[in-house]
């Protein structure tokens, strides 16, 4: 494991060490993310994009220029993100913006992009509104949305015999969006299910004993979980102790990502049906290539954040190469319909709604040697989990599709 100090040093040098005199010649990309509030995801994410930038620069840069990324910490606050976006665009003269983790921050930057006519490639925010209800022609999104990941999980959830479902989700855009999609999709497949309890803890403030007691009180046959970060371990340990898990089957968004399994260790709840990233078991050549490069560079294994950071920036680089320019309109034209390679295999940015077709791995949680891992997994390609075009068109503003 690379120590944290090395990482900080590394990122510091990457931020500070701008080649002297090369400023005019570099191709600048602005990057904003919640480094101080969601470090377990965003620090591997930063290592991922730094690897992509180093590879691009080692290969001679883009359009004959070195790539330089100016990175900022939004501290998880949408208003700070807006100010930093202004600073990056008007002071640092970046060609485009990328990044963000939290859905509300992502939406705020997307709105900024629309207002200021700057391209924005959202890396992680998962809310459906990013590309649909509040989508705009300047905003693209890499990761599979809450709709797509819910659709992947609903396939499995519909096979569970139970009819009484309970829900626990963080009370903000991401949680609300995931629950809305999950409910609609599950109801469509299984009209007989009913939702008997909903717990909406504020993000990061889940009070485990009371929440788990309340879930038990509803006597559900199955639970859909959307909590993550600091809330998830509390929920899991309390649920394990109180006999809620593994008695009641759980379908859970994102919990198979190494970021969260790293924390759970021997508390990992076996049998949860999750989306995630079984990094230790994927044998495709694309993944092996990425894995080896990453391990060689950092002496650490990649997390999902690493894949997201790496893929976001390789997609941006491909778009710039295709556009042969950093003109916003030309880059948008290039990114629409662009097929690019990711460690998970090829993916395409759909011209219709700017959503990439990058998928996720669906499987079950298990433990091996006191650590969490995924078993019985498969890769769910994002293109198979998107609604019909007509439905997308009805949810996306007409302006965004011009």
């Amino acid at each position: 494991m690379t120590t944290r100090r090395e990482l900080l040093l590394l990122s510091a040098t990457a931020l500070v060490a701008r080649p002297a005199g090369a400023q005019a010649a570099t191709l600048r990309i602005g990057e904003i993310n919640s480094y101080s509030t969601i470090p377990q995801f965003t620090i591997p994410y930063r290592m991922g994009w730094q690897l992509a930038v180093e590879e691009a620069n080692a290969a001679g840069g883009l359009l004959g220029r070195k790539v330089e990324v100016i990175s900022r910490d939004d501290a998880g606050k949408p208003d700070d993100a807006i100010r930093l976006a202004t600073e990056l665009v008007s002071n640092e003269k970046v060609a485009l913006l990328a990044g963000t983790f939290l859905s509300n921050v992502g939406l705020a930057v997307a709105e900024f992009a629309l207002r200021n006519k700057v391209m924005f490639v959202a890396a992680e925010p998962l809310t459906d509104a990013m590309v649909w209800e509040k989508g705009n022609r300047y905003t693209f999104r890499l990761r599979p949305s809450t709709f797509m990941q819910s659709a992947m999980l609903v396939e499995e959830a519909a096979r569970l015999p139970g009819k009484r479902w309970a829900i626990v989700a963080p009370n903000y855009e991401y949680g609300q969006s995931a629950v809305a999609s999950f409910k609609a999709l599950l109801k469509a497949r299984r009209p007989d299910v009913e939702f008997v309890a909903e717990q909406w803890p504020a993000l990061g403030k889940l009070e485990a004993a009371g929440t788990v007691q309340a879930l038990i009180a509803a006597r559900p046959d199955a639970i859909f979980n959307v909590t993550f970060g600091a809330d998830l371990p509390r929920l899991v340990r309390e649920g394990n102790l109180r006999g809620l898990f593994p008695r009641v089957p759980v379908v859970s968004l994102l919990s198979g990502e190494p970021e969260y399994l790293d924390v759970l260790k021997d508390e990992t709840p076996k049998g949860w049906i999750v989306t995630g990233y079984p990094w230790d078991q994927i044998a495709t050549p694309e993944h092996a290539k990425f894995f080896n490069a990453y391990y060689k560079r950092y002496n650490d294994t990649p997390r999902l954040g690493s894949v997201v950071g790496y893929s976001t920036f390789t997609a941006i680089f491909d778009a710039v190469r295709k556009a042969k320019s950093t003109d916003t309109e030309k880059m948008i034209a290039a990114l629409r319909g662009l097929t690019f390679s990711t460690p998970f295999g090829p993916a395409t940015f759909r011209a219709l709604d700017h959503q990439s077709t990058m998928g996720a791995y669906v499987g079950k949680l298990d433990q091996r040697g006191g650590k969490g891992t995924m078993v019985d997994w498969r890769y769910a390609d994002g293109r198979n989990y998107l609604p019909a075009d007509a439905q997308v068109k009805s949810r996306r503003p007409a302006e965004a599709m011009k």
Binding site: P78, R83, E87, N104, L107, A214, L241, R242
Partner: protein
């Protein structure tokens, strides 16, 4: 039945934790009159130390609880260091300075923890010997939770014994009742304060250390617990350990049932309880009216005076220069300059009733945020033009202040301040949870001024702010301002002179809120968006820091403070990883070295050299 019992036990174990944290807080306040904002940070420190110690020690019950106690003692020692370096120097300063100093200390501790333990959250293993659960009826209750439910009452018993059966405890109680009398009778105040602070810090550390088998240890845990602990202390009555005990249990249990029966209520429940208790009992469950403590000298201010012609010309030139300056700078500088102007108005509106009226508000963000939301809502929902929004915002804020003043102005001192905080927190949780109207955490986006030119908007802001500041200044120099300051310094005398003290204070409070609302509206259009952050505690604290940085008892202080603070914080965030610690150091130095603020300092130097 089992379910009710299970929920009840969950509430008791939460209440136990709350009690451990708030016992230390109330103890420290009772004796030293310091509202310790660093208490949450000490709690967090306890958790991190416990994590390190229990990992290093053998995983036996003895190793685990040994590690926990060791962590509590280390945090107690950290408390001694804080008391020795910072608090000792400012006991005689107004309580707002102590509060800010401890806030600075909290920022420093946060970054120290970040530097030592790293940003990743950590999850300790289950407590050795207490890994299982006990079946009660059909419900399972974790053994560790049962332990936690008894730790609170046990600690309460131990503290009761300490305060009623030992000499030290008797002295502490005496000092809580009347600090000056205790001192006059020969009690060594310094030693007493240091030992009390150490005990309080150790209790916070213990609470944090005991949480590690139940919680992930992370950098956000300090603020989460701090606000709840404050509520407990106020509900129980400041300085009363018994009050804190009962308040913790009541709030813990209500919280658990709130989660079960009304899951959306949890963010706001504790504040509603606090407001309800304070309406019935203005000093909390078991609190007593504060003994009026004589504040040591240095606070009498020279009277304000009207600006000379030369000063007016200077101010006019300055405004003109500020209006022209951004023409030379880029777009981003314009954004920062606009924000500075807005914050100057926000700080001045706070200073208006805090500096002149003596009411310290911990929740001034309520009116700032409300103004922002009101402006955004009228602009978005009925498409009202900018001018209408700029009128609607201060009206909405003033209306809210009218409601709040009914509660706040009846209370005194720290109780009044806590009520302002409660009011802001209630508005904040409404903004977060009433998704249909406020958009929840997404906020309201797309609130743009009619002009896309940042320069035009800057000039509009500058004009509005300058006019408002002149108005506030005029009011402070008018008979109204004199009446307000008289009501602050000697309410009885003011009353005897025929000043309607209540009405004067009330007017100042509502006017301050209205100007804060105006600042909020300007901010909404500047960002093009409003988010619940606008109502949050950090905004209120920013306001306090800006006012004190500039100088509490000066008229131009808020402007200087806002410019200096905003410039400093935005630059620090951009260029350093450890900006919190730097900011903390600046605040602590400010309080210790420049208690009169930048403007006060400059003025003192100028009058000395004259």
């Amino acid at each position: 039945m089992d379910l009710i019992l299970g929920q009840f036990l969950a509430g008791l174990s939460f209440g136990s934790t709350l009690f451990l944290v708030s016992a230390g807080l109330t103890l420290i306040f009772g004796v030293t009159r310091v509202v310790n904002f660093a208490h949450g940070a000490l709690y967090m420190l306890g958790a991190y130390f416990a994590l390190t110690f229990t990992t290093a020690l053998p995983t036996t019950p003895l190793g685990f609880f040994g590690g926990v106690l060791l962590a509590a003692m280390v945090v107690g020692a950290a408390g001694v260091i804080v008391e020795f370096i910072v608090l000792r120097r400012i006991y005689s300063a107004p309580e707002i300075f102590q509060l800010l100093a401890t806030f600075g200390v909290a920022l420093i501790i946060q970054d120290l923890v970040l530097a030592v333990w790293g940003p990743e959250e950590q999850f300790a293993p289950r407590a050795p010997g207490l890994k299982g659960a006990i079946q009660i009826g059909t419900a399972f209750v974790p053994e560790y939770n049962l332990l936690m439910t008894v730790v609170g009452p046990l600690m309460f018993g131990a503290l009761w014994w300490l305060f009623h059966r030992t000499r030290w405890g008797t002295i502490v109680r005496a000092a809580t009742q009347d600090r000056e009398m205790a001192s006059a009778l020969g009690v060594n105040e310094r030693l007493l304060f240091t030992s009390v602070f150490a005990l309080g810090a150790a209790l916070a550390g213990l609470a944090g250390a005991l949480q590690i088998p139940r919680e992930t240890v992370n950098l956000q845990m300090d603020l989460t617990i701090l606000v709840e602990a404050f509520v407990v202390v106020v509900v129980g009555g400041l300085g009363s350990i018994t009050g804190a005990f009962w308040a913790s249990l009541v709030i813990g249990v209500l919280h658990a049932f709130g989660i079960w029966l009304l899951p959306q209520s949890t963010l706001v429940l504790v504040f509603v309880v606090m407001a309800a208790v304070l309406i019935v009992r203005p000093y909390g469950l078991l609190g007593r009216p504060e003994v009026a403590t004589h504040v040591a000298g240095g606070l009498t201010q020279p009277p304000f005076r009207v600006a000379t012609v030369r000063e007016r010309v200077l101010a006019g030139t300055l405004i003109a220069a500020v209006a022209v300056l951004p023409l030379l700078l880029g777009d981003y500088a314009l954004v920062i300059a606009t924000e500075m102007a807005i914050l100057a108005l926000f700080a001045a509106s706070l200073q208006f009733f805090m500096g002149h009226g003596g009411l310290v508000s911990f929740g001034h963000a309520a009116y700032f945020g409300l103004g922002a939301y009101a402006a955004a809502l009228v602009a978005k929902s009925i498409g009202a033009p900018l001018a209408v929004a700029l009128v609607a915002a201060p009206l909405a804020a003033a209306l809210a202040a009218l409601v709040a003043s009914f509660f706040v102005l009846r209370a005194h001192g720290v109780y009044a301040s806590m009520l302002t905080l409660a009011f802001a927190q209630i508005l904040w949780s409404i903004a977060v949870q009433w998704v249909d109207v406020t958009g929840g955490d997404n906020g309201i986006l797309g609130v743009w001024p009619p002009t896309a030119s940042r320069l035009a908007y800057y000039l509009l802001t500058l004009g509005t702010v300058a006019a408002s500041l002149l108005l506030l200044r005029r009011a402070a120099l008018a008979p109204f301002g004199y009446a307000l300051r008289a009501s602050r310094d000697a309410p009885e005398r003011a009353e005897a002179l025929g000043i309607d003290v209540r009405r004067v204070r009330w007017t100042a409070f509502v006017a301050g809120a209205a100007f804060a609302g105006l600042a909020g509206a300007l901010q909404a259009f500047q960002k093009g968006a409003v988010f619940p952050n606008a109502l949050s505690i950090p905004i209120s604290v920013d306001g306090l820091v800006m006012v004190l940085l500039g100088g509490l008892q000066t008229l131009s202080g808020p402007i200087v403070g806002a410019v200096a603070y905003h410039g400093l914080s935005t630059e620090l965030i951009r260029h350093t990883e450890y900006w919190r610690a730097l900011l903390g150091v600046v605040i602590v130095l400010l309080v210790i070295v420049f208690p009169q603020g930048i403007v006060g300092f400059v003025r003192a130097r100028a009058s000395r050299s004259r």
